[in-house]
Amino acid sequence: MSIELIGITVLWIFLYGYLIVASIDFGAGFFSYYSDLTGNRNVVHAIINRYLSPVWEVTNVFLIFFMVGMVGFFPDTAYYLGTALLIPGSIAIVLLAIRGSYYAFNTYGARDSRIYKLLYGGSGLFIPASLSIVLTMSEGGFIAETNGRVELLYHKLLTSPYAWSVVLLALVSVLFISAAFLTYYASKAGDRPAMELLRTYAIGWSAPTILCSLLVFFSIHMHNPEHFDRMLSLSWMFVLSFLCFLIATWLIWRRKWLGWSFVFVMLQFAFAFFGYGASHLPYIVYPLVSIHESITNPAMGIALIIAFIAGLCLLIPSLLLLMRLFLFDAAYVEGKRGK
C-alpha cells in the first residue's frame, strides 16, 4: 500500500470513529434536553448522564485527530479547505465550544440550569449539519479559485439539493445511532422504562435514516455522476449496509440482543461510510485535490505512520480500560457505584 493510501485510510477510520462516538454524544445531549421538555427527565436522565460523563472528552479528540492528520498527510487540503471553510468552520467551532463548555458547567457546576442545558442540547444538533458541509464540498463544484484566491460559493451551496440531503442525513443518523446505543445501554442497566422510551426513539428514527440515505444517493447521481458510477461498482457494500440496517432494526423491534443490534448499526454505517469513501478516491476535494498530488513529504509520511502505530499501542489498552470500567462494568452501569 502506498503512503497516501495508508494515510487516507487512517484518516477515514478516525472520521468513522468520530461519526459513531460523536453521534452517540450529540444525540444523547438532544434526548436529554428533549426528555426534559416532555416531562420524561427522570426516565432517561440518569442513564444518559452515567454514560456521557466519563467519555465526553474523548469524543472531541477524534475530530482533532482527523484535522491534524489531514494537514499532516495532505497539506494542500489544509490550504483549499482552510480558505474556503472560514465561515462554516468557525460556526462549527463556536457550536462545539458552546456545547463542550456548557456541558461541563451543567454537569460539574454547582447547579442544574435550564439555559445551560438548552445551549448544550441544542448546539449538538447543529454541529452535524455544519460539519457535513465539508463532505458536501468534497464533491466538487462549490469552490472557485480565481487569481490564486480560493472562495466558497455560498449561493451554489445553499441552493444545492445535494447539500441539503447530506445535512438531513447527518441529522437523522445522529439521532438513530444515538438512540440505538442508548437503548442497549439502558437495557444493560436493567432500566426497563428508559429502555422502552429510547427504543421508540430508535424505531422512530430508523425509517428517516434509510430514506435520507437514498436521497443522498440520488442527489450524488445528479451532482457528480462520475462519483455515482464508482459507487455503483462498489454497490455490494451498500447492499450489505442495508442488510445490517434491517437486522439492527429487527433486533431493536424484538427487544432482543440489543448489544448485537448496536454492532449491526455500527456495521451499517461502516459499510456505507467506507463504500462512500472508497468510491470518492482518488479525490479528496473533487477535482482540486487528489491524494496523489497533495501527499506530504515521504519522510514525514513515514514518521506520522510510526507515531500513529505507537500512539495506538498506548490508546487501545487505555480505551479498553475505560470501557471495562464504565461500559462493561455492571455495577457502574446500574448506578450502584457513585462518583
Binding site: 482533532i64 499532516g72 489544509a78 468557525s90 462545539l96 454547582a110 484566491r149 514525514m300 507515531a307 457505584r337
Partner: protein, 447 residues
C-alpha cells in the same frame, strides 16, 4: 480602517490564544498540584488533603472543558486563518501536532477514569496512580505543542525551494534550538502559575474565615510548590535569555531597546523611548544585559541596528518583557515570604496584608503568563517562520475575518462570564463546612 485580512487574522489568533492559554496553563499545572495533595493526604492519612484534592479536581474539570474547546478552536483556526502557512509548514510540524493529540487523548481517557473512581478501588494508591497518566499526558501535550512554536522561532530540518519545502527531517525540525528552553520555561511556569492560582483560593478564603484549618493546609502546600516552581522558572528564564542572545538576537535587543552592538551592555528597566531611539527615565543596571546574554560582563551583545529595519520586532515588547520579569520576581519573593511566615505562625492567624497579596498572586501569575507569551510571539514579528516566511504571506485571503473576530469575541465573553460564575459558586459561596461535616472530618458525627 481599511479591511486587511492579515490584521484581523492576527487579532483573532491573538484573541483565541490569549483565552486558551489561561486554561492550557492551569490544565498542565493543576494535575501536579492535585497529585501533591492526594499523595500528602495518603501518606499522612490526613482527610483534609484528600478533600483538597477532590475539590480541586472538581474545579479542574470545568477548566479542562473550556481548555478542550478553545484548544479545538486553535487547532482548526490554524488552517482556517493561516492556510498558506499550513500548506508550507504543515509538512514539517504535523508530527508534533499529531503527537500532541495523542498525549491529550491519553490524558482525557485517564482523567475520565480518575473522576469517577474516587471510592472504587480497595487500595487508595490505585486511584492515585491514575493521576500519573493524567500528568504525563498534560505535560507531554504541552511539550509537543511547544516544539511546534519553537520550530516557528528557529525553523530547521527542511529546505525551502520556491515556496514548497523538501528534504524534511521530522525529528530535526522538532528538536530545534529553541525547544529545550521553551519547553522547560513553559512547563515550569505552568506549574508555578497553577500553584499560585490555587493559593489564591486559599488566601481569599482565609481573609473571610481566618481560622479555617482546611485552607491553612491548602495555603501551606501551594506556597511550598509555588516557591520551588518560581525559582525553577526564574533559572530557566535566564537560560532563555542566553538562548535569545545567540539564536534570536533581534528579539532580545527589541526587549531591551539595545541598538548599538557593544560590550558591557547595561540592562534597562522601564523608561520611555524617544523618536531618535534615546531612552528616558529608564533604570539602567550596568553590565546586566551582557551578564544575562552570555554570563560575562565584558561580552558583546548584538544590537537592533544590525537587523534590517523591515525585520525588526515592534519596540513595545520592552514593556511586555519588563512586566513579565517583574511579576516573576515579585511572586518569587512573595512565595519565600509566605513559606517563612507559614512556618513561623504555626497556630497564629496570618496577617491580612499577606493574605491579600496571596489572593492577588494567582491573577498576577496568569497575567505574567500572558505577557510572556505576548512577548515571545510579538517578538518574532514580522516573521511567522523566522527567516523563511513573513506573517503577511501566511494569512487567509478571505473577506470575512472581521465578522469572525466579532463572533469569537462574543463567544469568549459568554464562556468566560459563565465560567467565573460557576467557579465562584463552587469555591467562594461553597458548602465547604457541610462537606467537611458530611465526611466526618470536622464538627459532625464521629468517623
Amino acid at each position: 480602517m481599511a479591511y486587511d485580512p492579515v490584521l484581523y487574522s492576527r487579532m483573532l489568533t491573538e484573541l483565541t490564544f490569549a483565552f486558551h492559554i489561561i486554561f492550557a496553563t492551569v490544565g498542565v499545572g493543576i494535575p501536579v498540584m492535585i497529585a501533591f495533595a492526594e499523595w500528602t493526604g495518603m501518606k499522612r492519612n490526613d482527610p483534609y488533603y484528600l478533600l483538597l484534592a477532590r475539590r480541586w479536581t472538581r474545579g479542574y474539570v470545568i477548566t479542562v472543558a473550556v481548555g478542550v474547546v478553545t484548544g479545538t478552536a486553535i487547532g482548526l483556526q490554524l488552517s482556517l486563518l493561516w492556510p498558506s502557512f499550513m500548506r508550507v509548514a504543515g509538512q514539517a510540524i504535523s508530527l508534533p501536532l499529531f503527537m500532541e493529540t495523542f498525549a491529550f487523548f491519553f490524558e482525557a481517557i485517564f482523567l475520565g477514569i480518575y473522576l469517577y473512581t474516587w471510592d472504587r478501588f480497595r487500595r487508595p494508591v490505585s486511584h492515585f496512580l491514575l493521576l500519573i497518566p493524567v500528568m504525563l499526558g498534560s505535560s507531554a501535550s504541552a511539550f509537543f505543542i511547544t516544539t511546534v512554536n519553537a520550530f516557528m522561532n528557529t525553523p530547521q530540518g527542511f529546505t525551502l525551494k520556491g515556496g514548497s519545502i523538501t528534504d524534511i527531517q521530522p525529528l530535526v525540525a522538532m528538536f530545534n534550538p529553541a525547544t529545550p528552553t521553551k519547553v522547560a520555561h513553559v512547563l515550569s511556569s505552568a506549574y508555578m502559575t497553577s500553584a499560585f492560582v490555587l493559593a489564591t483560593i486559599a488566601g481569599a478564603a482565609l481573609i473571610k474565615k481566618r481560622d479555617s484549618l482546611y485552607h491553612r493546609k491548602a495555603l501551606k502546600l501551594t506556597m511550598i510548590a509555588a516557591l520551588v516552581f518560581s525559582i525553577t522558572t526564574a533559572l530557566i528564564g535566564d537560560l532563555s535569555g542566553k538562548f535569545l542572545a545567540i539564536y534570536q538576537p533581534e528579539k532580545l535587543a527589541a526587549a531591551e531597546w539595545h541598538f548599538e552592538t557593544a560590550r558591557q551592555v547595561p540592562l534597562v528597566l522601564g523608561g520611555i523611548l524617544t523618536q531618535d531611539h534615546q531612552i528616558k527615565f529608564g533604570l539602567k543596571i550596568p553590565f546586566a544585559l551582557s551578564i544575562l546574554a552570555h554570563d560575562n560582563p565584558n561580552s558583546v551583545v548584538q544590537g537592533l541596528n544590525d537587523t534590517p529595519v523591515d525585520e525588526r520586532p515592534p519596540l513595545m515588547v520592552h514593556y511586555l518583557f519588563d512586566s513579565m520579569v517583574t511579576i516573576g520576581i515579585f511572586l518569587m519573593v512573595l512565595s519565600m515570604l509566605s513559606v517563612w511566615m507559614v512556618r513561623k505562625l504555626k497556630s497564629v492567624q496570618y496577617p491580612r496584608w499577606l493574605l491579600r497579596l496571596i489572593a492577588l498572586s494567582g491573577p498576577l501569575a496568569l497575567l505574567g503568563t500572558e505577557l510572556g507569551w505576548f512577548y515571545a510571539e510579538v517578538g518574532r514579528q514580522p516573521w511567522i517562520l523566522r527567516g523563511y516566511m513573513k506573517t503577511a504571506h501566511g494569512a487567509t485571503t478571505s473577506n470575512q475575518v472581521d465578522l469572525m473576530l466579532l463572533l469569537f469575541c462574543i463567544l469568549y465573553v459568554a464562556i468566560g462570564f459563565t465560567l467565573v460564575k460557576v467557579l465562584g459558586r463552587m469555591f467562594i459561596n461553597n458548602e465547604l463546612h457541610e462537606e467537611l461535616k458530611n465526611r466526618g472530618i470536622e464538627g459532625g458525627p464521629a468517623q
